[in-house]
């Protein structure tokens, strides 16, 4: 879990002050939950076969994250210290169940695809990590920004990985309502007498890990401050 905690805001401060804006932008790069803190890897591997699924998962995490951070932040002064982890868990679990139930009622197809992973949100360490490290010590406003920032940091990695995997694994991207959009002419595919074959390895979980690894590599090559001194 992250060790970074921002001290409670003392005097009244604009919601979008420089410090607060940093809450939004930091998790995108310098303290990205996946590539720097290496949290939430499990769902990043499991849910990135299709861009569509990654988008849904990101939205669900965004919702649970904002809800969890704001609720815990509102309750931060009344939560007994000794059961704070349990309280956080209850908040997250309830929000996740709400997401799950609503999806089951309004979007059963998506709910089926996400069935296992919706439950995995509860154990997504990014969410617990932010509640413990940030929301417990900060006001709801900054907590919300922190949640949005971290969810976005999570989302863009998920999307990047999903994009790579779906394009090379399936040779197409499927959009809801539109179906699959192929990038290459049908005749190029090996099955139709062409030379191109989709890489099935991309669909399998190991390639997600490798793709995340490549993203970390690129990120560190560009952002020298992330490199540990040894």
């Amino acid at each position: 879990m992250s060790t970074e905690t921002t001290p409670a805001v003392e005097k009244k401060e604009s919601l979008f002050s420089k410090k607060n804006r940093k809450l939004l932008t930091d998790p995108l790069d310098d303290s990205n939950p996946i590539t720097v803190q290496v949290l939430g890897i499990c769902s990043a591997l499991a849910i990135t076969v299709q861009v569509q699924q990654a988008v849904i998962m990101s939205l669900a995490v965004l919702f649970v994250m904002i809800g969890g951070n704001v609720i815990v932040s509102l309750m931060r002064n009344i939560i007994p210290d000794r059961i704070r982890i349990i309280v956080q868990l209850v908040v997250i679990a309830s929000l996740v169940i709400i997401v799950d139930e609503v999806l089951k009622a309004y979007s059963p197809d998506i709910s089926e695809k996400l069935s296992v992973f919706v439950g995995l949100i509860i154990t997504n360490c990014i969410i617990m990590g932010r509640l413990e490290a940030f929301a417990l010590g900060n006001k709801p406003g900054p907590s919300m920004l922190d949640a949005v920032g971290n969810a976005m940091g999570y989302a863009w990695i998920l999307l990047a990985v999903a994009l790579v995997r779906e394009v090379f694994g399936s040779g197409a991207i499927s959009f809801p309502g539109v179906g699959q959009v192929k990038f290459l002419p049908e005749g190029w595919f090996y099955a139709n007498g062409g030379f191109y074959e989709n890489n099935n390895l991309m669909i399998l979980p190991p390639m997600a890990l490798i793709t995340v690894g490549v993203i970390i590599w690129i990120q560190r090559a560009r952002n020298r401050s992330l490199i540990e001194e040894n």
Partner: protein
């Protein structure tokens, strides 16, 4: 702060109030969404039955397609006697309607088979009589289920769809993919001594067995077991059914 938020009493009260509140919120949400979820499940069931006879359908427009192809909904008892039969549109509130028999629940229940009834869906496609049998069984991690369609000889498999709850992605979960389901077509259920199996990859398959998934042995075996066990019950009906004579 006026009160000591770390005292035992406060901690207990906080926990109790929290649990009651969360419980109330979740229970009311679950109750209010239940009808929609039930409707979605019924729709999914219709889609699966249609999938077994190879008729594509889409959410939101399933019922008319279902009514067009599925001519009769039959329930039989464990001795193969017909208990009930219904045509026309599905009534989700009528417990007598064979469509509403929850085979998954029956599979889990400890009641003896003689107290249960088993649904069968008679369909017509391109002038051919087809029979769809729901099957339920155990995978590696949780329940697996499916629908197997038989041709009018009540012996040859016309098509099959399978699904699962929590099988391993890439291994056992592949039972819901077309490449696993396609070989079922044309296979036979054995009318004399029912045995139908999903065998290990590479092993020679007969009329009564299908190639399994490498790395998904337990799930594959579960599929074989559930098809074999369920067909054992329906065979009694098929052998006595008037249409089976031809």
């Amino acid at each position: 702060m006026a009160f000591n938020k770390n005292s035992n009493g406060y901690t207990f009260i906080f926990a109790i109030v929290m649990v009651v509140m969360v419980g109330a919120i979740l229970a009311s949400l679950s109750l209010s969404l239940k009808p929609m979820q039930k409707a979605n499940q019924a729709e999914k069931k219709m889609m699966n039955i249609l999938g077994a006879i190879g008729v594509p359908s889409e959410r939101g427009a399933v019922e008319p397609v279902f009514a067009e192809y599925v001519t009769e909904r039959i329930s039989i008892d464990s001795e193969g006697r017909q208990v009930n039969t219904m045509g026309g549109s599905v009534d989700p509130t009528n417990a007598e309607d064979p469509f509403n028999i929850d085979v998954k629940k029956d599979y889990r229940s400890k009641a003896p088979a003689s107290e249960l009834s088993f649904p069968l869906f008679a369909c017509q496609k391109d002038g051919q009589d087809l029979y769809v049998v729901p099957v339920v069984g155990k995978g590696l991690w949780g329940p697996i289920w499916g629908y197997v369609a038989l041709e009018s000889d009540m012996e040859t498999i016309y098509g099959a769809v399978f699904d699962h709850k929590t099988e391993t992605p890439g291994l056992g979960a592949e039972i819901k993919e077309g490449f696993f389901q396609a070989p079922f077509k044309g296979k036979k259920i054995n009318k004399v001594a029912p045995h139908f199996a999903v065998v290990k990859g590479g092993a020679p398959t007969t009329d009564y067995s299908v190639d399994g998934i490498t790395g998904g042995t337990i799930t594959s075996k579960g599929v074989g077991e559930m098809v074999d066990r369920t067909m054992g019950i329906y065979l009694k009906y098929f052998q006595s059914a008037p249409k089976a004579q031809k």
